[in-house]
């Protein structure tokens, strides 16, 4: 008869409390033994001694507790260099949403933060401290490989660690006995084992070992309880079982998530043979119960056998493999504006990408060459279709970089031709003075544009000087073809006073400005004019 999650939680609750009490008693005994080392033997029998030892124990425990549990959350976050999730990132947004959902299901009893650990390992951990802060950390690796329900199950598991006080208890227990263990180690190091002959030390050492065993036992019980609670919240034992199954075969951050945090993790970062074997000794010496056993319990709740789960996982893997084996159409990969390759897309999906432009680098999966998108006739058709949709009047000129028809536009009251894709502008030479003279009438120079213009002009000044000195080391960009006659255009600065690079066709009297170049030129000239004007106004 499989146990329900409610039974498991109730049973584990009772056990954890009982054993935690024993652990605390053990702490007092260890303190008493330590105190006895520094006190004359005759006092041991008196009641005063025990009272004295008790007071010291409480005092020391209080200080330990404050130091170890006061600021745990920040220590953990800093120690793992974890970051808050980015709401603009789709997967991080999902994490934020899931955190909200968990807050709903727990009735908003406690505010929990969540952070992402920048690591490819797969693990999650929870921490809470005395200030009332609580945090759930999840590695980027786990975050990106789990499905939504699986992630929910993991977060619910960790949230229960926080809500039930597991995190605080674990920190307390670890810090209380940690100091004694460290003290014993130091003493044995400095005395080279001589002090160990003292029976009190032997006793203290034995008790500290016993306490760590007890601690591990409680930690294992906590994991079972958190698993059960996760199912209570999400009602989805399969998702948690699948996650544990997946974790059991992945890198869980051994060496990255430092020791001391392992009790807080969903699975032990260190993979040890002991963890995965059952039996008396294995059970005694591991912080986490065997994953297989945890999965069995979860599957018992869902009434599914582990072989069924395995088969399902295999079927999924096979289906995924089949999906990738026979792509229906040639798959395209495209580089997005952030210089990352995306894909595979079929032609329809490619057409729906908002950032696809004729200058986007694309490649197909089976070919090794990378081309601009306009060179691929199939993709080029997308841009033609987009232009038609936008109902602009296409001119007979084509953009020298995108090879798409230019569209006639009204600019500063006159007609120019613009490319809808790269925002470059083609203007007849006769119209340029008009445009410059009208600068600031329709749209004043934005701060961004003036700053950009100043920077570019300064850079070009350096370049111009280098050119003159014959030390320009930069590779020259290939010359663009004239949009009208297709002959190469000459590249020059607009003037030596306004160092903005333009492309000019001397046959057709046309000038091509790349994106922002025309605006920059306008801003430069406008600012110079105002500079020229100002001193005059002052002198008047």
């Amino acid at each position: 008869m499989p146990l329900t999650f409610i039974d498991i939680e109730r049973q584990k609750n009772w056990r954890i409390w009982a054993f935690f009490l024993i652990l605390m008693l053990l702490y007092f005994v260890v303190t008493a033994v330590f105190t006895s080392i520094f006190l004359p033997v005759s006092v041991h029998t008196s009641a005063h001694f025990w009272i004295f030892a008790g007071v010291i124990a409480i005092f020391v425990a209080g200080i330990h507790f404050l130091f170890s549990a006061y600021d745990t959350v920040n220590t953990v976050i800093r120690g793992l260099s974890a970051q808050l999730p980015d709401p603009k990132d789709d997967i991080h947004k999902m994490l934020i949403n899931i955190m909200e959902e968990i807050h709903v299901v727990t009735g908003n009893r406690r505010k929990m933060q969540c952070v992402v650990i920048p690591s490819l390992s797969m693990n999650a951990l929870a921490a809470a401290d005395l200030k009332g802060a609580a945090v759930i950390c999840i590695t980027e690796g786990l975050l990106s490989r789990l499905t939504r329900p699986q992630l929910e199950a993991v977060i619910a598991h960790e949230a229960h660690h926080i809500l039930s006080g597991d995190c605080l208890e674990a920190t307390v227990a670890a810090s209380l006995f940690g100091t004694y263990a460290a003290a014993l180690e130091n003493l044995s190091d400095t005395s080279q084992g001589r002090t160990f002959s003292s029976p009190a030390f032997l006793l203290a050492g034995g008790l500290v070992k016993l306490s760590s065993l007890l601690n591990m036992f409680i930690s294992r019980e906590r994991e079972y309880r958190a698993d059960a609670a996760s199912v209570r919240m999400t009602r989805n034992p399969i998702a948690l079982a699948e996650t544990l199954h997946l974790l059991s075969r992945s890198w869980r951050g051994a060496g990255f998530i430092g020791s001391g945090y392992e009790m807080l993790c969903i699975v032990n970062p260190e993979v040890t043979a002991l963890d995965e074997t059952e039996g008396f000794w294995a059970d005694l010496l591991s912080t986490h119960p065997p994953i297989r056993k945890r999965v069995d319990i979860l599957l018992g709740m869902a009434r599914v056998s582990i072989t069924e789960l395995d088969e399902k996982a295999k079927k999924n893997a096979k289906k995924n493999a089949e999906d990738t084996q026979k792509p229906p159409q040639p798959a395209y990969y495209a580089m997005n504006p952030r210089q990352q390759w995306q894909g595979p897309f079929n032609i329809a999906e490619l057409g729906a990408l908002p950032w696809l432009s004729p200058l986007t680098w694309v490649t197909t999966g089976d070919r090794q060459t990378v081309e601009r998108a306009w060179k691929e006739p199939l993709i080029n058709a997308i841009f033609t279709a987009r232009l038609v949709q936008e109902e602009g009047v296409a001119s007979e000129f084509t953009c020298p970089s995108c090879r798409q028809p230019l569209v006639m536009e009204s600019y500063e009251g006159t007609q120019v031709y613009q490319c809808r894709f790269c925002s470059g502008t083609l203007a007849e030479n006769s119209k340029i003075p008009r445009i410059i003279a009208r600068t600031g009438r329709e749209r004043p120079c934005s701060e961004r544009m003036s700053a950009l213009a100043r920077t570019v002009a300064k850079e070009n000044q350096i370049r111009y000087t280098q050119q003159k000195l014959g030390v320009d080391s930069r590779t020259k960009m290939p010359l663009l073809a004239c949009p009208k006659c297709k002959n190469p255009m000459s590249r020059a600065f607009y003037s030596l006073a306004h160092l903005i690079e333009i492309d000019r066709c001397s046959f057709c009297d046309l000038t091509w400005f790349d994106q922002d170049e025309l605006e920059m030129l306008q801003c430069l000239i406008a600012s110079r004019e105002s500079l020229d004007r100002e001193p005059k106004e002052l002198s008047v």
Partner: protein, 187 residues
């Protein structure tokens, strides 16, 4: 001397009664506030749907029927006044949304549209929150009922007129498609 003992025993009993009474009151308030939480999440869903519909409308010309069902179900849910009609409308809305999501799978253009994906994520999250809010309500009701019925609380609760709150029941057990049945809750 004997009088003092009787008095202190009576005092203790009074304190104990007050403790039971206060405990029950706070449990009942928890139950009621978790009921409100469900409404908050339903409202969130109503607010998200117009955005989704306007975003997918262009790409889903051939599914006007599905879209219209979502729109009309939402309108009914928003304007419903009695619990019974509201329950029916929310049910319809859940089903219409489920249908819409299923149909959206057939449109690769939608799947690569970031806006749509973000809206879908928001709606999925909202559906979960609704389900979780109901679940929390039921868990709290179960807890409250137990407290009412155990001895000696049952004496206090029956004399002071505490009523067990009703469970929120769904027609199917499916967590992803929760059905509202507000009529079951006695008011």
């Amino acid at each position: 001397m004997g009088g003092w003992i009787v008095l202190s025993v009576l005092g203790l009993i009074l304190v104990w009664l007050i403790l039971i009474y206060n405990g029950l009151i706070s449990l009942r308030n928890d139950v009621q506030s978790s009921w409100k939480q469900i409404d908050v999440q339903l409202k969130r869903r109503h607010d998200l749907i117009p955005n989704l519909v306007s975003t997918v409308k262009g790409a889903m010309e051939f599914e006007q029927d599905t879209l219209e069902k979502v729109i009309s179900a939402r309108a009914m849910a928003v304007s419903a006044t009695t619990p019974a009609t509201k329950a029916g409308a929310e049910n319809m809305l859940t089903q219409a949304l489920g249908k819409l999501f299923a149909v959206m799978e057939n449109y690769p253009a939608l799947k690569s549209n970031q806006n749509v994906m973000q809206l879908q994520e928001e709606l999925t999250s909202t559906e979960n929150r609704i389900a979780f809010a109901r679940q929390l309500y039921n868990d709290l009701v179960a807890n409250y009922r137990t407290r009412l019925q155990v001895f000696p609380n049952n004496i206090v609760s029956s004399t002071l007129n505490f009523h067990p709150e009703e469970y929120f029941e769904t027609e199917e057990a499916a967590r992803t498609a929760p059905n509202v049945n507000l009529s079951l809750r006695g008011k």
